[in-house]
Symmetry: D3
Subunit: 321 residues, 6 copies
């Protein structure tokens, strides 16, 4: 018997009905037997932290729409996600559209109370990358604020450890510097995969070096990065690990719908390979961010984002198995 019950797509078509993520039930509709849920999926419709093209506030809605075509059985892991987990869409976090720090507080406080902290893991759909901070904070608190912080698997074109831009310390270029300062993330157990494109300054690399963050640029990825990532993942053992996925880590050909894209990166198949290689890691929270639907007429970015979210939850399911 499935833990999550969806409308049968061979009865109620995927283009019908109110759009929840993956057609999963709203949390208020989950029956007791499947409560608390294993993963609570929610949106953070906020783009007040961007430095270039805005519009990611419409990301959660776009991902929900695209996710109607998300099926449930993962061939490569041989897992039917909805058999393993009770899953629910809990709607969108409250936001304060004109303030990064206020939004992070609102969203983080709200997320703290979702489901059952001991059981329920949080998957946030962005929104810009600054929203990751809210979900990392909530995840960290729910795991009991572990002394050494969480490990971090970070997929991105950008380092996102800039101290501040235009006077804002909580924008989308800064989630990880803040998370490290707050003790949420342990920089020595943080890896940034897929970094690409020119930087504003050579110095932008210094923070990572100084704090022990591991970086695999996409250029390095092509020369053996997969092995390095797997070694890193293996070294984590049971360490509680957060996964933050910025959709711009893939090449704009595969994700034209984002705000600060950088050419020359992962293919979709390549990123799936990278994610699938992480089986065994102890994922305790995650986000998929920076989906900006406006200039992506086919909606392939949001579709990819939905599948990335699915891949992440399947990692957790594979581990449980």
């Amino acid at each position: 018997m499935p833990r999550t019950t969806l409308p049968d797509p061979r009865q109620s078509p995927r283009f019908a009905g109110i759009a929840t993520f993956g057609r999963y039930p709203l949390i208020s509709h989950v029956d007791e037997a499947n409560t608390p849920v294993d993963w609570a999926i929610y949106g953070i419709p906020f783009d007040g932290g961007v430095t270039y093209r805005p519009g990611a506030r419409f990301g959660p809605r776009a991902i929900r729409d695209a996710s109607q075509y998300l099926k449930t059985h993962h061939i490569e892991h041989d897992i039917t996600l909805t058999d393993v987990f009770s899953l629910a869409d809990v709607g969108d976090a409250p936001v304060s559209p004109y303030s990064c720090s206020e939004t992070h507080k609102l969203a983080s406080d709200w997320a703290l109370s979702l489901g059952e902290p001991a059981t329920t893991k949080l998957l946030a759909l962005g929104g810009d990358h600054s929203t990751a901070l809210a979900n990392m904070r909530a995840t960290y608190q729910r795991r009991g604020a572990p002394k050494n912080g969480l490990a971090l698997l970070h997929f991105d074109s950008h380092l996102d450890t800039v101290d501040s831009v235009w006077g804002e310390r909580y924008g989308h270029a800064s989630p990880f510097i803040r998370a490290i300062e707050e003790g949420i993330i342990n920089p020595k157990r943080m890896i940034s995969v897929g970094i690409k494109g020119p930087l504003n300054h050579r110095d932008d690399l210094v923070y990572a070096q100084k704090h022990g963050v591991t970086i695999i640029t996409y250029d390095q990825w092509q020369a053996g990065g997969a092995t390095r990532l797997q070694e890193f993942a293996r070294s984590l053992g049971d360490q509680e690990t957060y996964l933050s996925f910025d959709i711009d880590v893939v090449d704009p050909a595969f994700a034209p719908g984002t705000g600060t894209y950088s050419v020359g990166g992962f293919t979709s198949a390549g990123i799936f390979g990278a994610l699938r290689s992480l089986a065994g890691v102890n994922i305790v929270g995650a986000d998929v961010v920076e989906v900006l639907p406006d200039r992506d007429p086919a909606g392939i970015t949001a579709l990819l984002a939905a599948h990335v979210a699915f891949e992440i939850m399947c990692l957790d399911a594979a581990r449980r198995k």
Copy 2:
């Protein structure tokens, strides 16, 4: 105190949350004090009856998304719709994507049971125009199957009284011929406004003439049609009246997102003028159909459709006032 409670847009932004029509509550979330609802809005995500470009199955979802920016106070009628009515989104009707007649049965049966027939009126979001038949049937039954049928206000580029196309008698060119045959619509109290563009045959006009349907082409509209429509409306008195609105009645400049568009028609402002002139008519059910979002990057068609639905319900509110 409002009859319908929405999220306050100055707290929870319009780009946040699961998208229901107009941000109205799901029917399962309406409190007892406001039950039964006055209008039940639902989608019929079906385009199996089209004769040219398909895709209107995505219409209900597109209208819900666009309707997030639908406000509640109608300046010209001086009515706050949510103060007057209890409103709810009841989701989408069941459909059988490969069969017009089967879909009409499924949707009509399902709609029959929504809310409280004596009180609750039905507003269907298409889907292709064939889905109107389902909503007309349900409306007719809920009103006690009045012997002389319902009056019909029909806005459209097309007559939609073709007997059959490619052997299908229930496609989107035929809803009204079927409704008349079934006694649901009284052709003598039916008016088709905005007819435009060339026809397949001169004979396509014969059915209307023979059965007493009134036609105002857009050419005629420009030469005094507004007066004729108002006279027709006044002549209806208290007669129970259904309103069927095909979005292609406006010019493609205003509604590029539809499947069988015809150039040279109403402006948006013009159609609002026409609808507002109907204050006093006893609307007992309605539909807004033929929204096909794929080639309308700005989404102005779905936005217009949402506002047309709002105008229709405001007509009912104005009458009650």
Copy 3:
């Protein structure tokens, strides 16, 4: 019995088959009984004469595609065009993509020989407005090169009587100055309707004044221009008249797919009204030009162009009637 036989749209759908204009037969498929044809429709896929955005070379193909949804019975004139006329698509004229003057010669020579000059009228689909010169030349020759030239009904945002641009005397800003010089068009019987937008120079108006061309700007149109046009048309009597239609005469909202658009003009319905008011004029040739499909995702410009071509031929049919 129809003069032109089309596939029955209720058997062979409008989205099926090789796309010819209006689904009319290729000229090689017209049977003897209907030969010579009354109107030969052909494309001139050339945009080597433009001064701003190119791409109208794809206009004929776009119009053919859009014209699949062109029906045959004109309600307002009460004419079934295919009953009155034998019509054929004769394909595209030869062009020399790098040379205006060479293209005009090639296309004009080719068009001279289409159908039967005494009977068959030519309707050219552009291509940029410079291609009109080719069709005007061919039409003029086929009518026996009348001493006083042809009258001209010209719908456009622009005057198109510039002497030369960047050294080119045959570009899309110049077709009428050349046609007048060549004696094809009689400037005293030429009217330009719908002129709008700022000019490069005040002097651009001088040519018209000096040669007796009548101008109705769109501003003037709104203040009684319809009457002036009708008077002009009536004054033509039986005069052989050419009609040249630049799609940019309508507002970009109605025709976003063009190359040098100018804001603030005709609606589609407005232009149909203008065309329909010309019943009685002796149209002997016509063109519809400047359709550029690339940035018009819904294809409404090409659809409008197809209907304008239909309206023009219906004028001729109405006269015959």
Copy 4:
């Protein structure tokens, strides 16, 4: 001899060169004879004040690109703008992307110093409507802070006199309430033309009533509003007047590229008629705002905005004449 020298479009094509507004010179390239300039055009690339769809930060650049096709001679006013005025593009104001109030200060201070206050008028290109406050402030100071404030001609779908949204008092719903509070605008000499669509609250109309702001909704416009506007304009006499133009005042068919569009409004031709009727008014500053290019593939919104800016400056030129 022209006051403003542009590249000759018949030598250097309109698609060539660095894009400045209207191809006007950068202010640093204006020769002494034409200094100070009469109108300084600048952008305020800021959308941090929006309540729905962001992206207007790209408005100034989109308008500059579209304005390459802006010609110089206004037929209806019979004015060659560049003969009358020395015009320059002064680039973009400094902005603080995360703060409305900070941006308004930065932009206003910067604008204060442009050209020669006594001579040079400011035309700002938005950006969201909140940026109008910056330009109104600078204009007001440059005119010597007149005791009774400036008169205001306001074209918009929205009233923009909301006190605050999400705690922000300087967002795009509030420029005029702030300007009135600051004594910049005299509400008794303020008119809002083209208001349309439903409101959030009936009370949103109260502010205008209480402070004496004149409102002409688009519904009222259609029933004689032109006359009322002209009377209002005439009543202003020589009063120093600011003109604020929100592109969403036109229907989305004509301006799909904006952030909070509202269906059922002005056509482009209609709005040109309204603007041209204002000849005689003493315009001392202006803005054109809320151009958001992302979902407008043909760029017709930015093109319209450029022409509106041109119409406004022509009003000033017409008065001088």
Copy 5:
């Protein structure tokens, strides 16, 4: 001397003329010397069998348009296709838009009679994947209904062996289960390459296992699948083989214009490599399906589809050589 004569692109440009596939002649224009043709290309404009996004009915027309830029000499095979083969576009098959099974009958019967069965091979352009059944049936009959059926090379994201969806046994999820049941395809000689994305049920894999269908998922492809495919192909020897190509086998980045896309697959170059590795296989019929142009503004999907069709015919030419 070429077997197929095309317009010379250096005389008649590729953007000119009525669009036939690859600019090949209509079959009625092929001269006797080149009759019967070797390959008859035709469209099946039908999408009544889809389970998600419709619109593939416009696929044949889109492919024809895109194929205007298809050249004739294959560098890697060193073959000029038009020198080897007589090729013709035979237009579109008759369809019954509301019925899968009826369409398959109509199209199959019509295709049976094309060209000369013993010589002429059929290449069908979809349309949804259900249309493949029609072409497989016709091919099978034309080859004399071989007792063991045809071998099948199947490129796709999906297995397409679902028994029925929404009560329809002939939809686009089912062509191969039906073809196997009808004895047309030998499942033991069937290979499905490129399967990717999650499944509705783990059980969806059972059919293939039970009947001996070989599957290479895209994940497996990346780990040596090319070799497996080549071995499979070699094992076929002279076996009459059908090739069915669903465009969604490539990643949506390369084919955004399709209806049920699945992220993470082949690149265009990758799929060309796979196809070219099949030289030697005895292809007796083929299809390219699921092109849906509406949301692919650059038309790259249809262009790819045209080239895939070309690659397939080149395989046959390479074998003949």
Copy 6:
């Protein structure tokens, strides 16, 4: 201290200001200390030489817009380009839109005089590939017309050595045959990388063979082409080398905005790898051509082009280092 001073993106956002390439100064704004500049970047807005889809005349403007997001530090080369070089945007070359040969003369003459020939290298942004001839001519003259000509690194889908098309010897299919005839390029030191797609004639390969041009098709690239390219590059030693980059060398998934695209080629990451492998080559001039923005809603083609230009200049910087 940087050689090139840009607006600080953490003060003046990348979406603000007049768009120059990479936000580099206009040449008139470069201070003396940094004069002459090392690289002069300019546009050639001309597409009069195309054989299929026009529109590349808007390429320079699109690249400038996209290049606002071009940063300055190249991670892989560890070079901050603006520290090494003085860079300037010098605007667009004069063009004669109706004539290839005239444009080449105008642009070449103009480019001859830019900066200081001995120091300043030229990077041209197309425009169609015919414009490369202008930049090659100017570069060659500025280098003192070396007797054996320049070496050429040519990235393209097409060979571009066709003698003439439609009577035009200077179109975009012919820049290299002309450059070789003029002695500018030494065919024995010319390599064409990434050739793909079918050819018009097998004979199109003969020119290269006869003159000693090296070709690496994309098929060959995948089988060891990287090594061959590196060997070729190494063999050039200090030879003065021109680099011509046609954006259609990458697959249309990565560059949908071009005019004659050919499916099945380089990824963005692949082409960056190829370019980076050229470190050491003595680049003395370059172009990036065939960007056509109209059908690329996300603008990824222009963004890629800007980054390719950056990569090329970084090669020069790496060599200097």
